[in-house]
Assembly symmetry: none
Homo-oligomer: 238 residues x 2
DNA sequence: CGCTGCCGTGACGCTTTTGTGACAGCGTTC
DNA sequence: GAACGCTGTCACAAAAGCGTCACGGCAGCG
């Protein structure tokens, strides 16, 4: 996991409590006591997630969330709202503002951490540090290593990201445009056929252990990663 | 999903709020602050769906809907009305005017997105990526896979689209012209008999598992997909 | 019972899409 | 500053799929 999290909470005791738990779960924690500071920090540090207390002095959590959503640069940062019991009726408003999830106090650290993980995974599954495994292929994001069974596989940075994305979104067919968005970033300008070339390089690296079969071409649509080779076991049809 | 949506809303804050949520759900959003602009944009951009606030300055939402329905070119564009609580009594009027659905404020983004999906699904079932299943035949658009029972079926892009369309519009008979419109696109120029050939290829691919029986010829009219074979099988053994 | 359209089917060029090897640019390393 | 690793793009080769046609069978009809 290891995400950068911005915690926005005015009550020092609670702030400390939550922060400790986040750190314990392996996250980096930035803190803000009010919405203005929070806004500044989000722009400066671009955290992976913002945890906002519903009640804040001055600008409240909803307003903060709304502002984050209004700004191009901060729009995609996921938000989790913290709210006290009894404020449940505001849940709808909270979600309307664009919060991704919503946790009621008092909450267990376990629950909070779980929700955070869930939101991060939903946002960018390949941003987690979980080891992914498919069809005997293993990829470990934290050590940046790929192994096929026991054999290590060497990949360039792009091939690594490509494989990581495919492994975190298996089965699904991805168009070249989608892959460019997700792996290269939606701002870069490269030819779609470049994807083909990197797929080729990826296959080349996986060839030694036959794992190149996992990378499948779907003619007219794009590429797919799947352990299911989709071949009928020798039905005598020509 | 990923639809083009025209949002008609005069209140900037709400407009922004809704737009953000639509974008997050993967839609393209066009915006209009008044009915006149909306009318123009609908003609120019031909969105997949129009989201209209009930209360608008000048021409109100109902009137806008009526006009959209009156014009040949915009008639088929689905409309969803946004309305404040307390205007419920007008619901009937709204639906009468031709709105396809109706969402009361305050609404959760989740609900709104769900309604949109529902309306789009009704409109163009094959535009969703829901798995379709008929007579033991399964088609999964997101993985681009077709299976008959357990066995995988290999189809070319055109056969895949053809089958997808037939499966999302079963029972009904489709003329060759309709199939060309829906599967090939209404602008291409190909012989009608080409449809026959692709039907043939589709049947060929389904032959191995007997599922070719689902694809039926209606002499003089076109083709139909149906789990009901319409004939008494000679012997009930399969 | 023979005609007349309609449909199934196999074959065949052609176009489009994808695989592949080569290469020049670039930033880093040694 | 030479060598290296990685990247994006190209041109060409290979493959796959597409649309059309011609032939033949068959249904419906008089």
């Amino acid at each position: 996991m290891a995400a950068n999290i911005l915690l926005v909470e005015d009550e020092p005791a609670i702030q400390e409590l939550v922060a400790v738990n986040l750190v314990r779960a392996g996250h980096q924690v930035l803190r803000a006591g009010d919405a203005e500071t929070a806004l500044r920090l989000v722009r400066e540090a671009l955290p992976d997630l913002v945890l906002v207390d519903w009640m804040l002095p001055g600008m409240n959590g909803v307003e903060l969330a709304r502002r984050l959503r209004a700004d191009e640069r901060t729009r995609s940062v996921p938000i989790i709202m913290l709210t006290a019991r009894g404020e449940e009726q505001d849940k709808i408003t909270g979600l309307e503002t664009g919060a991704d999830d919503y946790v009621t106090k008092p909450f267990s650290p376990r629950e909070l951490v779980a929700r955070i993980k869930a939101v991060l995974r939903r946002q960018r599954p390949q941003a987690t540090d979980d080891i992914v495994e498919i069809g005997g292929l293993q990829l470990d994001p934290s050590t940046h290593r790929v192994t096929a069974g026991e054999l290590p596989i060497n990949l360039g940075p792009t091939e690594f990201r490509l494989l990581h994305f495919l492994m975190t979104h298996p089965e699904r067919v991805h168009s070249r445009a989608q892959l460019l968005d997700q792996v290269w970033g939606d701002h870069v300008f490269v030819e779609e056929r470049t994807v083909d070339v990197h797929i080729r390089r990826l296959r080349g690296a996986l060839e030694a252990t036959q794992h190149d079969r996992l990378v499948q071409t779907v003619r007219g649509s794009g590429y797919r990663l799947s352990a299911d080779l989709g071949v009928a076991p020798a039905l005598g049809v020509e």
